[in-house]
């Protein structure tokens, strides 16, 4: 008995891992002993609840200690311990392989289906436009897109390639295909996996901070998200695939976690794997492994230990390598808009770059406010009752407005790629039609300002209504498109100014007449970075992603200038990026590490029960009956109950979770004889002294947390918020001179913070 007492002192959390030494020593034929067995499902969490980070960490330490101590016994145990240590790397490898494969499949399918809206390849129907004309010898310099094997629909159906009738027929079929794709996408999402809609990043951020959403990272969600992402992007809607690819990669991570009990049984360890999987997702979306790791560190993850850094990098590299070996774009590049020019930029150009940063910040603020207002309307009014109709309507409007403008007719990725490219002698893009060459005389009217400006306004407006619909939708690509168009317009303007006014002081030093001194493509890149930064408020990861995308290390300074400016301008209007705003809109219990709490309130101002509330629901250590406990559970919906010595002294013993109580009592009623409604429940080590006529008492010390976190009532809320953030607590007890006063839960903390920031405290929905 002394041995068990010693163990009870050492183990601060007599939690529910597998058989601990305590019960192995308790050999005496005590009928209560099989209560010490792990209860079925005890230790798992309910849906839409927060995990207990400390419990998961201590369980993992127990497991690791057990394996290490057993590994000294035999060679087989040693091998098992080595396999356990390596299981993390195996999971990373598998995640990288599957993410890379899925990203390759998505890229190839999107490429094909986007072109399907306009025409079809006659020689082999599975080829996109570019692939179809790959082997053809009939391409000319001016019409390098055309070849006889690929025909537009009008040409196929009526035989006429040009003319008003062919244009109308092509227009009509474009709209029809777009509607068909989006209808299929929203139907599949609705019927099979409703969690597959949206971007996924706000929910993944919440999951990584400790929230449980069952089914969000499941197999059906993975399948449906992959299939419908292709359909959604191909339908010409103004959305991207980067956010959904992060969701897909996290689903892969979850899938492989279930292979190893080290990760499947421990929610804390699982989230380490999911952080790394998010990095792999961004890596294949952009072809930026380092940017992916930084994105996971900065945007998505909540706790990011150094061990996760190395493993994320490994997963991102494996994913990028897998994608490269599938080679979807036919030229060993990972992303569609890889540019390779190295023209220098000049100091005076920092002024337009900073202006682009300001534009990016302003656009970011506008987009976030408008999108959140629209999503709130979708959430609360009749608009939300017709998701399928909404998707079809938005697709119809997008297709009708996008087709006439050649810049919006093609897919957004191709548009960005064209905007980023420099106009050399070999370019045949329409953007370069105005090139001022002193040899040739082309009218200045060819500057594509009107179609570009219209495309800009169109993209700004339509993306507000597209992001957040019930299909997989990302917003990296549309933001970059808006920024790229704006940047290109500014770049062309500066170029024209330099050409026509080359005798001004600014241009005299660095521009010789007739020479190319301004690269509009660079302005497009800077604009894209500025807009993306303004919307998501990314800093380092944005710059790294942009220069990994473009390969232009010499453009770091302009990119940083624009990113910093856009973040400053956007932060002046509102502190939250788009993902934090969506988290707030949905009321997820996400305690942001970036928020600073600077108010002077104390724990006693926030704790419950308040002055007029009923007293705290507690259990006593040895005088509550089973019936009392069951009534308490039925009448209240608290997630846990403190255990005190007695109702008079109110000194705190520990804390017990509602779920554990429910399961323990249910188990005891089924499996143990003698446990009835009037049996006493005790949490002490020894049974209380009772008369022999009383029914058998029920020992529940096994499920009691003997070390709940406590603060005194005069602890400043600043410290309390810090403790919640750093330790990932769910609740914290408030005591004074050892007596229990009240409880502060995470929901109370979030509500208090919302109140302090003059937001609606009732919007915090989950616990």
């Amino acid at each position: 008995m002394t041995f068990t007492a010693q163990f009870d002192d050492v183990l601060t959390w007599s939690g529910v891992s597998a058989a601990t030494p305590t019960e192995e020593m308790n050999g005496a034929g005590n009928l209560m002993d099989f209560l010490d067995e792990p209860f079925p499902d005890v230790g798992t969490y309910e849906d839409f609840h927060t995990i207990d980070w400390l419990r998961e960490k201590s369980r993992d330490t127990d497991r690791h200690r057990k394996i290490t101590s057993k590994s000294k016994e035999s060679i087989w145990e040693l091998i098992k311990s080595l396999l356990d240590a390596w299981s993390g790397w195996v999971v990373m490898l598998l995640i990288g392989l599957l993410s890379g494969t899925l990203a390759g499949v998505i890229d190839l399918a999107v490429d094909w289906m986007t072109d399907l809206k306009e025409g079809v390849c006659l020689s082999a129907f599975w080829y996109s436009h570019e692939q179809c004309c790959w082997t053809s010898n009939e391409t000319t310099f001016d019409d390098r897109d055309k070849c006889p094997q690929w025909q537009k629909w009008a040409e196929l159906m009526t035989g006429h390639a040009e003319g008003a009738g062919a244009y109308v027929l092509n227009y009509f079929l474009y709209i029809l295909w777009a509607l068909l794709f989006s209808f299929l996408a929203v139907s599949l999402v609705r019927v099979f996996a409703p969690y597959a809609c949206g971007s996924g990043i706000p929910e993944i951020k919440t999951i990584l901070s400790g929230f449980i959403i069952r089914g969000y990272l499941g197999k059906w969600t993975l399948l449906i998200k992959t299939v419908t992402l292709v359909l959604a992007v191909s339908s010409g809607l103004s959305l991207g695939k980067e956010g959904p690819l992060v969701h897909v990669a996290c689903c892969c991570g979850n899938l492989f976690c279930s292979l190893f009990s080290k990760y499947s049984k421990n929610e804390g360890k699982r989230r380490e794997v999911l952080s790394a999987a998010a990095a792999a997702g961004v890596s294949v979306a952009f072809g930026a492994p380092i940017g992916g790791v930084l994105f996971s560190l900065e945007e998505v993850s909540y706790y990011f230990p150094l061990k996760t850094l190395w493993r994320s990098f490994f997963a991102a590299l494996v994913a990028a390598f897998t994608l490269r070996s599938i080679n979807p774009f036919g030229n060993s590049r990972l992303v569609l808009f890889y540019v390779e020019y190295h023209t220098p930029w000049y100091m005076a150009e920092l002024v337009p770059f900073i202006l682009l940063g300001v534009f990016g910040g302003l656009w970011g603020t506008l987009f976030i406010r408008a999108n959140i207002a629209w999503c709130r309307r979708r959430k609360t009014t009749q608009l939300g009752k017709y998701p399928v109709l909404e998707v079809i309507a938005v697709t119809g409007i997008t297709a009708v407005l996008a087709y006439p403008n050649p810049y919006t007719r093609r897919s957004t990725s191709e548009l960005i790629s064209e905007l980023f490219n420099d106009c050399g002698a070999l370019e045949s893009s329409q953007l370069c039609d105005y090139i001022n060459n002193s040899n040739m005389s082309r009218p200045v009217d060819d500057i594509p300002d009107r179609p570009l400006a219209l495309a800009l306004i169109f993209k700004i407006v339509i993306t507000i209504f597209t992001f957040g619909m019930k299909i997989p939708s990302g917003l990296f690509i549309p933001s970059m498109a808006v920024g790229a168009i704006a940047g290109r317009i500014v770049g062309i303007a500066v170029e024209q100014m330099a050409y026509h006014h080359h005798d001004w002081i600014i241009f005299k030093n660095w521009c010789r007449p007739g020479a190319d001194c301004v690269t509009p493509g660079l302005y497009a890149m800077v604009g894209a970075a500025a807009c993306l930064g303004g919307v998501t408020r990314m800093t380092v990861s944005l710059v790294v992603i942009m220069f990994e995308l473009t390969g232009g290390l010499e453009y770091i300074v302009p990119l940083m200038a624009a990113a910093v400016t856009s973040k400053w301008v956007a932060d002046a209007f509102g502190k939250e990026g788009i993902y934090e705003s969506h988290i707030q809109l949905n009321g997820y219990p996400y305690l942001d590490v970036r928020d600073e709490f600077t108010h002077r309130t104390l724990a006693t101002d926030v704790m419950r029960p308040r002055r007029n509330d009923p007293p705290l629901a507690v259990l006593t250590q040895d005088s509550t009956t089973v019936e009392d406990v069951e009534t308490l559970i039925k009448d209240t919906d608290y997630n846990g109950f403190p255990v005190v010595v007695s109702r008079e002294s109110e000194r705190l013993i520990g804390f017990v979770q509602r779920r554990d109580l429910t399961l323990a009592i249910k188990n005891a009623r089924q499996k143990q004889d003698g446990v009835v409604s009037s049996s006493v429940v005790y949490f002490t080590e020894d049974a209380p002294q009772l008369l022999a006529s009383n029914p058998q008492p029920l020992k529940l010390r096994r499920i009691l947390n003997l070390s709940p976190f406590t603060v005194t009532d005069h602890t400043p809320m600043e410290t309390v918020v810090d403790i919640f953030r750093k330790l990932g607590l769910r609740q914290c007890l408030v005591t004074r001179s050892g007596r229990l006063l009240g409880i502060i839960t995470k929901k109370d903390v979030l509500r208090h913070m919302a109140q302090m920031m003059n937001q609606d405290p009732e919007s915090i929905m989950f616990n």
């Binding site: 599975w126 080829y127 391409t139 310099f141 599949l188 089914g215 979708r378």
Partner: protein
């Protein structure tokens, strides 16, 4: 020279055995884009040559300029070596379309055919019993009923149906959270 002939022969034999599996001869190309030069208009040249032969002199045939202009012309041309895998593209698209087709068929079955079949087999009484979703036209609306009925025989078919009903209930819960109550993912 005999030895070099044998070496080349061995190399081509090795390549035939391995290369035919990995790449079609059509899948590599060298693409040279030559802009307009004086009075010659711009042209694009494609040829299946290997990486080391991918330059202006090998690919641009017939050379439109003679003798001393060739160097000036070739300097303006840009040649890129590209390769693709047409088999990968074909396999990927066909696999994707088959998965999409299967999902669409399953969706049509679940939304249209199954309620019709159930109505014919069990009559109208079962449908009226669907608990809280009165008038619910969504798929899986009567999942609860089917679950309670199948406790009798624990054989393989029943287990599969049980699992399927459990999945349907989960999806219905998800659909309620996302589409009806707008609790998550709005």
């Amino acid at each position: 020279s005999n030895l070099t002939d044998v070496n080349i022969g061995v190399k081509t034999l090795k390549c035939h055995l391995w290369c035919d599996f990995t790449r079609n001869s059509e899948d590599i190309r060298c693409k040279c884009i030559c802009p307009p030069y004086r009075d010659i208009e711009g042209q694009i040249y494609n040829q299946n040559v290997s990486l080391k032969d991918c330059n202006c002199l090998h690919v641009v045939e017939p050379m439109p300029v003679d003798g001393k202009d060739v160097e000036a012309y070739c300097l303006r041309c840009e040649c890129k070596y590209e390769e693709r895998s047409s088999d990968t593209i074909k396999v990927t698209i066909i696999i994707y379309l088959s998965i999409l087709g299967l999902l669409l068929l399953y969706m049509v079955y679940l939304t249209l055919l199954e309620p019709m079949l159930k109505r014919r087999l069990f009559g109208h009484s079962q449908l009226i019993q669907s608990d809280d979703d009165v008038g619910d036209q969504q798929p899986f609306a009567n999942a609860h009923n089917v679950l309670s009925r199948s406790h009798s025989r624990p054989n393989m078919l029943n287990k599969v149906e049980h699992a399927q009903q459990r999945w349907r209930r989960q999806v219905q819960e998800q659909r309620k959270s996302v589409f009806d109550r707008h609790v998550v993912l709005s």
